[in-house]
């Protein structure tokens, strides 16, 4: 299996969210993931793109979203970077806590972590980078991880 990498620099719009989702779906299918995993990967990418466009760049037309897709023999790795203020993952309320169940937002990162094998969030003063990793079947060596 050959390694592939593609990168897109996109505007802070809802079209970017749709494009990122559709590209993730296509590349995940091409990488051999089954239908359920393709859905999980594309949905995780959609949620990360929504965070970048809405919460990161706040639809600012001067700010861009960079989406990298990298296929290795072991993994599909998607990295999404925005130019916002930086997301602190430790400050995200637990959407499963009883007091948060009926909140109308705040589930995006939770869903991303549920759907991917590894999630790495790197906030900085110049934006947030979130790296999503899905292991190709048979290459997973450990469980889910969520870390800085």
């Amino acid at each position: 299996m050959t390694e592939q990498r593609v990168s897109y620099t996109l505007d802070s719009t809802l079209e970017t969210v749709d494009n990122a989702e559709q590209t993730a779906s296509r590349l995940a299918a091409d990488a051999g993931f089954d239908e359920e995993d393709v859905m999980k990967i594309s949905m995780a990418v959609r949620e990360a793109a929504v965070n970048a466009v809405l919460h990161g760049n706040a639809y600012d037309p001067a700010k861009k979203v960079v989406v990298d897709f990298e296929k290795t023999p072991k993994d599909l790795v998607i990295t999404i970077r925005d130019q916002g203020k930086g997301l602190d993952p430790d400050k995200i309320p637990d959407p499963l806590a009883p007091e948060n169940l009926l909140k109308t937002s705040g589930r995006g990162i939770f869903l991303i972590r549920s759907f991917m094998d590894e999630v790495h969030i790197h906030p900085s003063q110049t934006g947030t980078e979130i790296k999503l990793v899905k292991h190709v079947h048979g290459t997973s060596v450990d469980g889910k991880e969520a870390s800085q």
Binding site: M43, V50, L101, L102, S105
Partner: protein
């Protein structure tokens, strides 16, 4: 495919037949506007048929929660009908499956509303 909605009345219950995607933007707005309009007309028994909804994101989930609480706060009831596996699984992992009253038979669902 964007979200499409139509409504019909059965024994005092408004059934909202939905199809497509409930996602950030158009889909979520369509659902919100529909529920708001029904409440404005005094139609507070709402059965949201999601049988043809093939995709929902976290914004769509939030919109379902918003619709549920908005209807309840106005003394009404909103129930869900015919969840696809994707939507069912999403409500399970977000622990919302037990929050919503979920039905899989339309006639029984209509009968279950308070008269």
């Amino acid at each position: 495919m964007s979200m499409k909605i139509s409504t019909r009345q059965v024994d005092g219950v408004t059934i909202v037949d939905s199809s497509g995607r409930i996602t950030l933007g158009e889909g979520s707005v369509t659902l919100r506007d529909t529920v708001r309009d029904l409440l404005a007309k005094g139609q507070k028994k709402i059965l949201l048929n999601l049988g043809d909804v093939n995709y929902i994101d976290s914004s769509g989930i939030g919109e379902l929660v918003s619709a549920f609480t908005t209807v309840r706060n106005q003394g009404g009831e909103l129930k869900l009908l015919n969840l696809t596996k994707k939507v069912h699984d999403l409500l399970q992992i977000t622990k919302l499956y037990t929050v919503f009253d979920v039905k899989d038979d339309e006639a029984q669902a209509v009968k279950s509303f308070n008269k």
